[in-house]
Amino acid sequence: MLNNGTKCLRTPLDGMMKSLGTSTKEAGWRSNHFLPPPGGGLFGAGLLNMSPGWFQQSHEVCLFSFFL
């Protein structure tokens, strides 16, 4: 079930990995150490944080401010 659900997240995961490549800000360890299989495999690679409510995270503020 979790495997199938994760396949649906491929687009945002790929987007996250691309943003790592273009970001000028040094990424922390949580955004490093990925080992995507050759060709991307079934799931790709990346990190997504999902919460229905938390305090503003600094990386989200940076994205928001970019579009001001």
Partner: protein
């Protein structure tokens, strides 16, 4: 203009729906994995009943949105007693502790994917556990250092469910007490030998 700001978490600050949960893909994911949420809730109810109780109260608070800057449709599909989770795909995990929870809060780590060999190391207590797909590990992540240095034979998914102590504070929810062996025996009407 890019503004980098140090953020503190103050109790009167509003809550935000995380950006990663606002997508249509996340909407599909939440719908597809409701059964995983329910299984994880059941594990939590059995192993850390006080955490489960405050987590259920938190779900209601999330949906009412009284503490939010703005709500999002996908919050209606949140059925987990945990404050959030990280989906970590094909990544090794350096040894670390997680700072967001209270000392008595557990993290619930779910291993999935297709890999054939993997262990989770918890060196503070000299423990190494098999970490193959289908494994669930509850640990007090603020206290115990843990990590995964490698895996073999496939792809690795980790869903790390966490409690944010500051969010529960915002809701006025109490921290859970330490989980004790005694409470299990008490619930079953037994006494320790």
């Amino acid at each position: 203009m890019i503004i980098f700001t140090e953020f503190s978490q103050r109790l009167n600050d509003p809550l935000y729906v995380s950006s990663d949960i606002r997508s249509k893909e996340a909407h599909t994911f939440l719908q597809m994995t409701t059964s995983v949420d329910l299984l994880c809730n059941a594990i939590t109810a059995l192993t850390a009943p006080q955490l489960y109780d405050v987590g259920m109260s938190a779900i209601q608070e999330f949906r009412e949105g009284r503490h939010h800057s703005a709500l999002h449709l996908n919050v209606d599909y949140w059925t987990s007693v945990w404050t959030g989770f990280s989906m970590i795909i094909n990544r090794i995990t350096p040894f670390h502790r997680d700072g967001g929870g209270a000392p008595t809060d557990y993290d619930l780590l779910i291993s999935s994917g297709t890999h054939k060999g993997c262990v989770l190391d918890i060196p503070d207590i000299g423990l190494t556990v098999n970490y193959l797909p289908g494994t669930a590990v509850l640990l007090t992540g603020r206290i115990l250092r843990h990590g995964v240095v490698e895996w073999k034979g496939g792809e690795r998914i980790c869903q790390a469910r966490f409690i944010k102590d500051a969010v529960h504070d915002r809701f006025g929810l109490p921290r859970p007490d330490w989980v004790m062996y005694d409470s299990y025996f008490k619930d079953m009407g037994l006494t320790l030998g």
